[in-house]
Amino acid sequence: MTEILRRDPRRERIARNRLHPEHLETLAQEGGCTASAWMGPNGRMRKDPHAKGFIGPNGLRRLDRSGVQQGTSMAAARAAGVAEQRPLVEVEAPAFLVAVVPDMAGGRLTGHDRDLLGLARQLADADPEARGAVLAVVFGTHKDEGLAEAGIDRLLQLDAPGFEGHAPEARLGALMAVDQAWQPRHWLLPDSPLGGADLGRRLAVRLGERPATGVWQLEADAASPLGWCCTNRGAAESLDIRRPLPRLALALAECAEPVSETRHAVHGVTLPETLPSQLVRIEDLGMVPVDPAGVALSEAEFILSAGNGVRDWAGFHHAARVLGATEGASRVAVDDGHMARDRQVGATGTWVSARVYLAVGISGAIQHLQGIQSCDKVVAINMDPGCDMIKRADLAVIGDSARVLEALVALVEQSREERRDAA
């Protein structure tokens, strides 16, 4: 679209004439004006106090202060687009570096990683005179688009095949090389079972630092060597230890607010020297297939859950086996005796955190929806298009649950058959 503004004298005339039948539509199309405020003929803004709001369904005038209901003009939409773009912050010559090693589970930043990057920004931006830069060390390829929004200034991506899987020794060697090359003032790692806790402790003992583990609070403190003081959890979550912030810290989730106002230049950097090869004493033989039925419901990744709408229970169990899903159930299915009590999902059962939750014949009572609050993707198969579960679901299929499950099982088995033939 061209940005050259063209005047249309006829439309301007209509916009000035409030009694014209096309007055409102024209105003909506013209930029910068609404029905209640417009540019007068000699350049002053005119306001009509009576034209505020809109007529609601029951004939009463409603005021809507969000500005959504009134004619949103092109200029306003353009302005909104610009407002969404956060200001870009570049640190050209950083005074120091804050090195962060995010977990990047599945190639994406986790919520814990974002909190940690927020903490790193807090450390880097504390002194506006001498700003630091946040260096993220990422192992493997990343699929995340939002690295700039998360607050990363420099990105070191290490995607040699030696870093894949469980390779603490190779990763530790790379981090030591980073430490030698750039001497970061702070090292921050997530204290998480996804790998950050392990790698951070290895790095700490190799660097000869005594790390702060389980950090959840950070305060400026001029008396400490690095100018910060932290509070961390100790002794099985029963103690708060306040100590000066050491060079290396392992932080808990929600240790700081994630970056929300700025965008940062994700400059790629590379190590000045090639990494020396490491002696591998721990060999990764790969993932072991686990029986999904044995996985605790609260930590299962993929749950197939049944409710009142399921009639064909044999088919349901078969589908769970074929899909490799952990079975869950709503309260009604458990009360009716179709499923065991420990499989119940919801406020009175288990609060689940699955990545994919496939709800079959569950209408979605509020207690059940509470239980699946932290699930990433919810898929619903249901007969009733108006039920609450459909509103919550990311993908909903309206239809007979038994038939859809049957078709799904057939598709999965067919694709496996094809792969076996091809192999």
């Binding site: 599945g106 469980h166 020794e169 790390p211 099985a236 686990v290 239809g399 078709a407």
Partner: protein
Amino acid sequence: MQPERQGVEVTVLVSVGRHPVTGRARRADQDARGLEMALGLERRLPGSRINLLHAGPGSEENESALRGYLGMGAGTGLESLTLLEQPDGADAIPALAEWLAAATPQLVITGTRAERGEGSGLLPYALAEHLGWPLVNGLAAVEKVENGVATLLQALPRGQRRRLQVRLPAILSVDGAGPAPRQSAFGPARRAELEATPVAAEIDHELAEWAMSPARKRPKRLKIVKSASARDRFKAAAAKAEGGSGQVLEGVSSEQGAEAILKLLREEGVLPR
């Protein structure tokens, strides 16, 4: 030809735990899981020997807690515990490292974190660095030990498991995914032997300087809605948890519906190969 000795020498590092409700001394949960794993290993590999090792003060309360581990060894070869006696506030790492370097066990099993003191979970890592041995964390099971190589199952989040092979001697740390510990028998625990050896103590001065207080409840994170208008903020605060932009397939055949679901499952990568 000599028959190959099958058994392995295992040292289990044990600590004094803390009951989460009453705060009393007890056997630590993760260490007890580690001992349970060692006992299981001994049953499978006859001729294995298990040593229990603890470094700390030898007070009466600690001793009764440590005897909790000895009570788990009823009917097995486990009979004694080596207590490296140190005053309160001493650093356990040098004493343990020195003892392990002299005793050279093939496997050292520990819990991940202590339930008292700093509880930073650094001890296995520091020992591994001192001794130069490999370390595997989050152990779920020891599958087999053959020719100086152990095959292990590592527990990952979300119930996943990974198989690893590590050269012995190695340090293995156990967390909540290890086997549930058996009950401790009181009689055998009383009768078992506790060998106390006083060792040189290095007082941990750094730890003594830090301010410790009972854990405060962490503030709950508030959902911050950055919006110019009060109406948007109110709507966000009052909104029900809903997906919102869900796709609804209505009036499609069950095959089409199944295909859409399969596509989503593939994108998320949850289907097994």
